[in-house]
């Protein structure tokens, strides 16, 4: 048993694990869904065996480093199981809804732990440098508190919104939204938001579709009063952007300003105002604080070990006095 442990925890096995991990990372032929996790698992097994076999790896800075590294790999595994990644677009004035999140990746043990209406989207702006280079993003949100109040917060750039263990990051994905009201000939009026494609990425394709109840669909185009000037420094502020909504339906074309309405089959469509939607990346990894703490402790342990080694003076005398430097 101890011979097996020694073999698994040997330097030779460690180097084999490193080579396997490296190959899984860079060689397309070795790259697969499970190749990297398997190689990392092998590294963890090698590390655990080495710690068990070599007392030296359980003492001092070296012990702190190797134990923290092993705990780090275990924490990564746990984090992956409970991890969540997704995307959501929220219109100004709208609330966070779990149902609106598009999942890109969810660990087997992930369960939603965030309430509907956990926060509300406020106004946002994005600065652009000449050449349409994105600078600062300031996204105002109102975060629901336990006592029922709403706490204002500005997120963006390096500052995510953290709510109930989930982190919301602003992205390049954001754009205009038209608030429109459908006024049917019979029945109640309904107000909603039509999201236009991401701006300025798709400034040439600001088009949305509106389903006219029982009568097919209308095509809506956003017509900004001032076209995008790529050479200028400017700020994208959807609510303050003068624009018209151009409605194409059944061969007719209507240009609506905020407050205008146009007749459509079965009712009227009113353009209330222009606003914006913000796209967020949603991230949750419950192991995140542990990962940081363990990584920091591992580095501190390694530094401690190296510092002790460096304290041992070297006989820096000329080679000639040592017999030619042999």
């Amino acid at each position: 048993m101890s011979a097996l442990l020694a073999a698994v925890g040997s330097t030779r096995a460690m180097l084999a694990c490193f080579v396997a991990l490296g190959a899984a990372l860079v060689l397309p032929v070795a790259h697969g869904t499970w190749s990297v996790p398997l190689a990392l698992g092998a590294v963890a097994l090698n590390l655990a065996s080495a710690i068990a076999v070599h007392p030296r790896l359980r003492r001092g800075g070296l012990g702190v480093f190797h134990a923290s590294l092993l705990a780090f790999l275990l924490a990564v595994t746990c984090g992956q199981l409970a991890r969540y990644e997704g995307e959501i677009e929220i219109v100004e004035g709208g609330a966070f809804e779990v149902e609106a999140v598009t999942t890109t990746r969810a660990g087997a043990l992930h369960e939603w732990g965030i309430e509907r209406d956990a926060f509300f989207q406020g106004p946002w702006t994005v600065d652009y440098e000449p050449g349409v280079k994105r600078a600062h993003t300031r996204s105002g949100v109102l975060v629901a508190q336990d006592d029922g109040s709403l706490r204002p917060q500005v997120v963006g750039d390096d500052t995510p919104l953290a709510v109930a263990g989930y982190r919301f990051y602003t992205t390049h994905n954001k754009g205009f939204a038209a608030i429109v009201t459908w006024l049917p000939e019979l029945g109640e009026a309904a107000t909603g938001a039509l999201h236009f494609p991401s701006y300025p990425m798709f400034d040439w394709r600001q088009e949305a579709r509106f389903d006219v109840p029982g009568h097919g669909e209308a095509r809506l185009f956003l017509q900004l009063d001032a076209p995008l000037d790529e050479r200028a420094r400017w700020t994208l502020d959807p609510s303050a952007t003068p624009a018209a909504l151009v409605v194409h339906v059944e061969g007719k074309r209507e240009v609506l300003r905020p407050g205008d309405a146009t007749p459509l089959p079965g009712g009227r469509l009113r353009f209330d105002r222009l606003t914006g939607w913000m796209g967020y990346r949603v991230f949750r990894d419950p192991a995140l604080p542990w990962l940081f703490a363990l990584a920091a402790i591992a580095v501190a342990g390694l530094a401690w070990h190296v510092w002790h080694r460096a304290a041992i003076a070297l006989p820096l005398t000329a080679a000639a006095t040592e017999g030619g430097g042999a």
């Binding site: 180097l15 991990l21 490296g22 280079k133 600078a135 390096d158 390049h172 990894d285 080679a319 430097g325």
Partner: protein, 278 residues
């Protein structure tokens, strides 16, 4: 006017490095088989000092003009790396004066990097908003220290490898024996391992806040991890099998080569957005 001053400073810095490198190489290569005199080391040290001062001026002028540090284009990264590598080498030589004798091996690397910098586009760059965080400084400084320590170790590795030739052995006799140099070289590599590990942690913290993920296996992250694996593997191999100084020197050169490729090759051949989403 300002770009001209900036360009002139950087050109003169590279010329000073080239002069220092030439003197070091000529002194090493000149016939005679005896250690070169101390005034050669002093001349190389002064020229390196002049180059560092000029690089500082050039980088400062550019920084003041465009409003951000030298982190983005190849031109900027090479300029800041010339400065940091030169500075770490100068500090190491101040601590261990015998290391000036490794100038013949390290300064040519700086001269080549300088030539590469001068051939690169000096066009102004735009720093993404995600660069305005103190974590970036930790990440960058730790990365520079990592490469700097590996760079000093490469100079020592150059001595160990050159000593295969009897003539070079005689010229480098003023330096300690192979065993001591080997130990010193690996101390610098251990320091490099500490700094690279810390750089990876700082980078993950930055990436989490900037892009919403602490690790995404983008090409630069993969190669940074490969560098770490190679460095950690080399350190373990040296400890476990007590590799000979010259074999160790080859390992050090290999680690530095991979690190160099990670720093200066991957970010500019990969289209993955590790430089900040735009």
């Amino acid at each position: 006017m300002m770009p001209a001053l900036e360009q002139a400073s950087l050109w003169l810095a590279v010329m000073a490095l080239a002069a220092g490198g030439s003197i070091a190489m000529l002194a090493f290569a000149s016939a005679g088989g005896a250690p070169h005199p101390m005034h050669v080391d002093r001349a190389v040290a002064r020229l390196l000092g002049v180059a560092l001062a000029l690089l500082t001026a050039g980088i400062a002028v550019r920084w003041q003009r465009i409003g951000h540090g030298p982190f983005l284009s190849m031109y900027e990264v090479l300029a800041s790396s010339l400065w940091s590598l030169g500075l770490v080498f100068a500090f190491a030589c101040r601590r261990f004066p015998g290391l000036w004798r490794t100038s013949a091996f390290v300064l040519p690397v700086l001269v080549l990097m300088g030539a590469w910098m001068l051939a690169s586009s000096p066009a102004d760059t735009h720093a993404p908003a995600t660069y305005e965080t103190p974590v970036l400084w930790f990440h960058v400084v730790l990365g520079k220290l990592f490469l700097g320590c590996a760079f000093v170790a490469v100079g020592i590795a150059g001595v160990l490898l050159a000593r295969r030739s009897p003539r070079a052995r005689a010229r480098l006799a003023a330096l300690p024996g192979d065993g001591v140099l080997d130990a010193l070289m690996w101390r610098f590599m251990l320091a490099a391992l500490v700094f690279e590990s810390a750089m990876l942690v700082a980078g993950a913290v930055w990436a989490q806040d900037a892009w919403g993920r602490w690790w995404a296996w983008d090409p630069l992250e993969i190669w940074a991890l490969l560098t770490w694996l190679l460095l950690a593997g080399a350190v373990h191999a040296r400890l476990a099998w007590r590799v000979a100084p010259r074999t160790g020197a080859l390992l050090v050169v290999a680690v530095f080569a991979v690190a160099f490729f990670t720093f200066f090759g991957i970010p500019f051949v990969s289209i993955a957005p590790h430089k900040g989403a735009v």
